[in-house]
């Protein structure tokens, strides 16, 4: 077997990892059953491999942690302390790395806290839970766990000062949790927990003002369980003063005045107890009605949502549900937009944000939801500076945390956003980062061509705002010059060396250097196009000369030989701007023979050129004045379906210049004549060689036959034609032959070995 084969077969192995994986799984099962030491090591290795192969398979992660715990439990606490500690550390690390990548995996957070609780104690476990709600603040579940843990800790505290401290801390945490999640339609367990906690403090609900206030807040929030809170409120609200009842009202005086008018009283003191009760009932019933109608409205949207959590297993369902989230957000947004007073505005702002954040839990990888978020905040009431910071945070969450790197829509949006808020420097900096991330480099996978080129054009656009026209043209000129004149590798090296010697005064230079170092063949074409259009736009008499000089200097560069834009520019330039048919013909012939453009592009250039020539017949005739014919280009017929190399002369020439077999032939000829060759002329007629090649395949595609039996003086040759009209007809000479013996030779089929 050759090296090539070896390489192939090893690749083949890599192509089918599934087989090895399943066999490992089977081994692992066996290992667990027999519980032998060897196989448990195997299981351990296997599962480690598996989670690195399938980092999104949560089931695999679960079993990894399961096995890890088994391993830890099997170790003796005292004797194998160090190994045990190492394993615990490993568990911590794995949990953290998994959760930093996917912070919305509730169950993993929970398992993590249990893991830590089991091996490192209560306090550390509470720390984990605290981190969990910091990382995933919209998770009711995690908040409830965290708060429960805090409460347990609180109950366990004996020291009075410490206990009070913890109580205050708990209240702060409860308020925070309500602030973040209170608008969640299903947040009743959280409200209940808070109420339960406050109820346990002090002397019964009737005299517990904290408890009552929380209840009033819950009452005003559209919650699934709204009726329960109303019922409970109406049971105890008469125990509290009118002002306490109006706790949630922004303008309590106005409300009291309303009731004074209603009861035709002058002061509050004039209300009798019965009247007071009537007012309280009326007020809380109104709140209830309001909440009830809200809940009914929300219910149409809430009732259809079935997948509120982030999960890899339900991705398809989540996708299907995302339009429902979108309509929900739209509804909330319209409520916010139509709200006519500050209080309502604030209410709906929070509510909308809550829905958007909730939608972003299952849909956190979908840039459209992030854009929706940006869109909403952008149009909200906050001040410009606040808005900028707020939006920036949203973008950064999306960009650095959630939206996968193969979907850069939101990232480009971020650049546009920075430009909108007049931060070109920041925008440029980020563009350069993104350019590096999407661009090609040897030690990195995944070259995202389109995104990378978009970065290039964005960078050019940002420079456009940063630099003067004159300066930018200069900069581009230098970039192009350095790129082509010193060759790519040299250029990169130079850039690196020069970087160290940089003058600090010139602010743009470092950016230009970074830009240059990440340029590739495709990117330089974008830069060239930008430079040329700039030259043309400035439309000074000298530019025409400059553009033509540019053409002569760089047209043979490999990067430009495949750039459609480059050639389109020059066809337009000579054809439509200067109307110079001689130059146009020169460019077309360069396109035909000296570029690496695909046939379909070459054909359309020929079509364009022909149309232009037809419209400029006087000048075409002038340049061909001596021949008595017009331009051959007028007769080309390339956009034909036929791709016969035998008939299409131009195409044949082009192919023969590029065909590797012919190149090999030329090389081997050149090697034989080593040193003797003086001129640049080709040693072989490439077109003839190509025709020979085609001929040898013509009636046996794939099986070249170069020697066929022939009658060398055959009567079917034109020169041997005998006209039988002549009265005296010659007797044709006897036939002579070539290669007759080859006729019966077996055909050499290309062998597969």
């Amino acid at each position: 077997m050759t090296d090539e084969d070896n390489r192939l077969s090893s690749e083949e192995k890599n192509d089918h990892p599934s087989d090895t994986v399943t066999s490992h799984i089977n081994e692992r099962r066996v290992g667990l059953n027999t519980a032998s030491n060897d196989s448990s090591t195997d299981t351990w290795d296997t599962i480690q491999k598996e989670i690195s192969l399938e980092p999104e398979n949560i089931a695999k992660w679960d079993s990894f942690f399961e096995i890890l715990e088994e391993k830890i439990d099997a170790l003796d606490k005292d004797e194998e302390y160090v190994r045990r500690k190492d394993f615990i550390k490993l568990g911590n690390e794995k949990y953290r790395s998994l959760l930093s990548k996917y912070p919305y995996l509730t169950s993993i957070w929970k398992n993590f806290s249990i893991f830590v609780f089991k091996y490192e104690g209560m306090e550390k476990s509470i720390d984990i839970l605290r981190t969990s709600v910091e990382q995933f603040p919209r998770s009711l579940d995690l908040w409830l766990d965290y708060l429960s843990a805090l409460i347990t800790e609180y109950h366990g505290t004996i020291e009075v000062d410490k206990k009070n401290e913890r109580k205050d801390y708990l209240r702060v945490q409860f308020d925070l949790a309500i602030d973040i999640n209170g608008f969640n339609f299903h947040s009743d367990p959280l409200w209940d927990k808070y109420l339960e906690f406050e109820a346990a403090q002090g002397q019964g609900k009737e005299s517990n003002i904290r408890y009552f206030y929380i209840l009033l807040r819950a009452n005003k929030t559209p919650l699934y369980q709204y009726a329960r809170y109303y019922k409970e409120t109406s049971e105890i609200n008469k125990e509290f003063s009118l002002l306490d009842n109006f706790f949630m009202e922004p303008d309590k005086d106005a409300l009291i005045n309303k009731y004074l008018k209603l009861f035709k009283k002058n002061t509050e003191e004039e209300f009798s107890t019965v009247e007071l009760h009537q007012i309280i009932d009326d007020y809380s019933y109104n709140i209830f009605l309001n909440t009830q109608s809200l809940v009914n409205e929300l219910w149409t949207y809430e009732s259809v949502l079935k997948f509120p959590d982030f999960s890899f297993n339900t991705i398809a369902d989540i996708r299907e549900e995302s339009p429902k989230w979108m309509t929900y957000i739209e509804y909330e947004k319209s409520k916010y937009e139509t709200a006519d007073n500050d209080a309502d505005k604030k209410f709906w702002y929070k509510s909308t944000i809550s829905v958007i954040e909730r939608s972003l839990v299952p849909n956190c990888t979908d840039y459209k939801f992030w854009l929706k978020y940006v869109d909403f905040v952008h149009h909200s009431f906050t001040t410009e500076q606040e808005k900028f910071e707020e939006l920036r945070k949203i973008y950064e969450r999306a960009i650095y945390r959630f939206v996968p790197s193969d979907d850069n829509h939101i990232r480009f949006h971020f650049i546009k956003f920075l430009m909108f808020y007049n931060k070109p420097k920041l925008a440029l900096e980020y563009t350069m980062d993104l350019m590096k991330a999407t661009g090609f480099s040897e030690n990195k996978e995944g070259y995202q061509k389109n995104d990378y080129l978009t970065c290039i054009s964005y960078a050019l656009s940002i420079w456009n705002t940063l630099l003067s026209k004159q300066k930018l043209t200069e900069v581009l000129e230098n970039i192009i010059q350095r790129y082509f004149d010193s060759g790519e590798k040299l250029r990169k090296q130079n850039a690196r060396e020069e970087k160290s010697e940089e003058k600090e005064s010139d602010v743009e230079e470092p950016d230009i250097r970074t830009f240059e170092t990440s340029l590739n063949e495709q990117a330089i074409c974008v830069v060239v196009n930008c430079y040329l259009t700039r030259l043309l736009d400035s439309r000074k008499p000298s530019t025409i000369i400059k553009i033509r000089k540019f053409y002569n200097k760089y047209r043979a560069e490999p990067a430009l030989r495949i750039s459609v834009k480059f050639w389109k520019f020059f066809v337009d330039f000579e054809g439509l701007v200067t109307h110079n048919t001689i130059n146009l013909k020169k460019i077309i012939s360069d396109i035909e023979y000296d570029t690496n453009l695909p046939k379909i592009i070459v054909d359309s250039f020929l079509d364009i050129a022909r149309d232009i020539l037809i419209s400029n017949l006087p000048s075409v005739l002038e340049s061909n004045a001596n021949t008595g014919r017009s331009e051959e280009l007028l007769l080309t017929n390339y956009s034909d379906e036929s791709s016969s190399l035998v008939l299409a002369k131009g195409w044949r020439k082009r192919i023969s210049d590029n065909n590797f077999l012919i190149q090999n032939l030329e090389d081997s000829k050149a090697a034989k004549q080593h040193g003797k060759q003086t001129s640049n002329q080709s040693l072989i007629n490439k077109e003839d060689e190509l025709l020979k090649l085609i001929k040898s395949h013509a009636d046996h595609p794939g099986i070249p036959i170069s020697q066929r039996p022939e009658i060398t003086n055959s009567l079917i040759y034109e020169e041997n034609w005998i006209n039988l009209n002549d009265h005296e007809v010659p007797v044709p000479p006897l036939p002579s032959f070539k290669n007759v013996e080859k006729a019966s030779l077996p055909i050499n089929y290309p062998s597969e070995t």
Partner: protein
């Protein structure tokens, strides 16, 4: 007149006036004329009835000149009706229309032999003309059989025919034919020990080689010749096999209005390539012509054929081919090719005539034709820009073809004049993408502010076209990121 009596025929013929490309109806027309309301046509039919039949064939073949068997049947009718001269002219006309049809040539030559008088040499000439055209046809065995038997049968009238017979046979065995075997058998029987004679030898072996043969020992000569011609057999067989690789894939050899499969079109292309690479000019021509009988409806083979002739600088043949193509294939691409050829040859008035007669006869004129008309007009008075703009104006008004604006940009006219010209049509073409694009281009050339174009066309163009327009707008421009953000945020 009896025409009215043949009601069915009258009805069909009326229908055909509005529907001349309906081959089925033409066939029906012929059938009804032949049927003649059940009486049939024969020598005693009235001249009117015969005229109905004759006109039916004539008209049909005017629309469909490649229907070999209708030509043959038409000629046979005339012959049956004792109209020798008419039959002859039908055949001659048919040969004009289909110079490379084997069936036609064979039938024609049979007819001539059947009616032979003192025109033996004329018939020989005809055979030779036919051989020049269809002699390399893979399926020309019938023709050669006929030719050989003709030479043999009339050798008594013209003594040179004997020699010609052997020479022809000698030629035929070198031509790769489907029935090559038959001719070899004939040839080998002539040189077999039992049949070989002085007559055979002198007509097969050239004089200067006769000396090296011991003509006294015929047995030896026979075996010597057998040895030589076995190699011919091997070579011809090899060639037959390699042609058969293509021939076996060709299923349709005749003209029809139905489609041909892509594979078969591909086979023709490869076959032509193969011929170009391996055989002489006449072989290539025969293959092109054979191909074009079957693929006459496909402009690409006509154009390839013309290109081939143009490459060989055979301009008048190319012109004739294209004209013949235009007779059977009404595709304007052929006309464009022909116009381009005339322009190339600087026959500007011929090019103009082609265009004007096409415009007279056709309702719909493809832009390509107008494009050439404009180019030729420009040539007449290169400096009279107003005149040219007037022609553009009239054409645009008449055709409402927005692509003409794009063509206008190709002309070396001052940009300002083009811009003012375009403004005249601003209203009429505001929903046209090509117009918008052309206007954008001229604005950019004049370095006018283009931003109002984008707002103008946003409401005028269809959303899809506007997207496309925006692409052009930003093509050579730095993207305005700020504006993009505004647009995306719908500010």
């Amino acid at each position: 007149m009896n025409v009215i009596e043949n009601k069915e025929w009258s009805q069909t013929s009326k229908e055909l006036i509005t529907d001349p490309y309906n081959l089925k109806k033409w066939q029906k027309l012929i059938k009804e004329a032949e049927n003649n309301e059940g009486h049939g046509i024969n020598k005693i039919s009235s001249p009117e009835e015969i005229e109905v039949l004759r006109q039916s064939y004539r008209q049909m073949l005017k629309w469909y000149p490649l229907l070999t068997w209708y030509w043959i049947r038409f000629a046979e009718w005339e012959f049956k009706l004792d109209n020798y001269q008419e039959a002859l002219s039908v055949f001659e006309e048919a040969i004009q229309a289909m110079p490379y049809s084997i069936e036609l040539w064979v039938k024609y030559l049979e007819f001539r032999i059947k009616t032979i008088g003192d025109d033996l040499q004329d018939i020989l000439k005809l055979f030779e003309t036919a051989r020049r055209r269809i002699g390399y046809h893979f399926h020309s065995h019938e023709f050669y059989k006929l030719y050989l038997s003709f030479l043999k049968n009339y050798a008594s009238v013209d003594e040179s025919f004997t020699k010609k017979y052997y020479v022809l046979l000698r030629i035929v065995i070198e031509i790769p034919l489907y029935h090559y075997d038959y001719f070899f058998k004939t040839f080998f029987s002539h040189i077999s020990e039992s049949n070989i004679s002085e007559e055979v030898v002198v007509n097969i072996v050239p004089e200067k080689e006769l000396n090296s043969m011991n003509t006294k020992d015929m047995k030896l000569v026979s075996s010597k010749l057998k040895k030589i011609f076995t190699d011919v057999y091997i070579t011809t067989q090899y060639k037959v096999y390699s042609l058969f690789y293509f021939e076996k894939k060709i299923t349709r050899h005749y003209f029809d209005v139905s489609y041909i499969s892509q594979q078969e079109l591909g086979t023709w292309e490869n076959y032509i390539d193969f011929m170009l690479l391996n055989y002489s000019f006449h072989y290539v021509i025969t293959t092109f012509e054979r191909c074009l009988i079957a693929t006459a409806n496909y402009p690409r083979f006509w154009i390839q054929y013309a290109d081939y002739l143009i490459n060989l600088k055979m301009y008048s043949s190319a012109r004739e081919t294209l004209k013949r193509g235009l007779w059977v294939n009404k595709n304007f691409k052929l006309l464009v090719k022909l116009i381009d050829l005339e322009i190339y040859l600087q026959n500007f008035s011929a090019a103009r005539d082609l265009i004007t007669s096409y415009i007279k006869l056709n309702k719909f004129i493809p832009t390509e034709i107008h494009e050439r008309l404009l180019g030729l007009e420009h040539l007449v008075a290169p400096d009279d820009i107003e005149h040219m703009l007037q022609i553009f104006r009239e054409l645009i008004k008449e055709t409402k073809n927005d692509y003409l604006f794009s063509i206008l940009l190709n002309y070396p006219f001052p940009d300002v004049q083009i811009e003012t010209f375009m403004e005249e049509f601003q209203e009429q073409f505001s929903s046209s993408f090509v117009f918008a694009k052309s206007q954008l281009y001229i604005y950019q050339k004049l370095q006018k502010d283009t931003s109002n174009l984008i707002t103008h066309y946003e409401s005028k163009l269809s959303p899809k076209n506007f997207e496309e327009f925006k692409k052009y707008y930003y093509l050579n421009k730095e993207v305005d990121l700020k504006k993009l953000f505004e647009q995306e945020m719908k500010l």
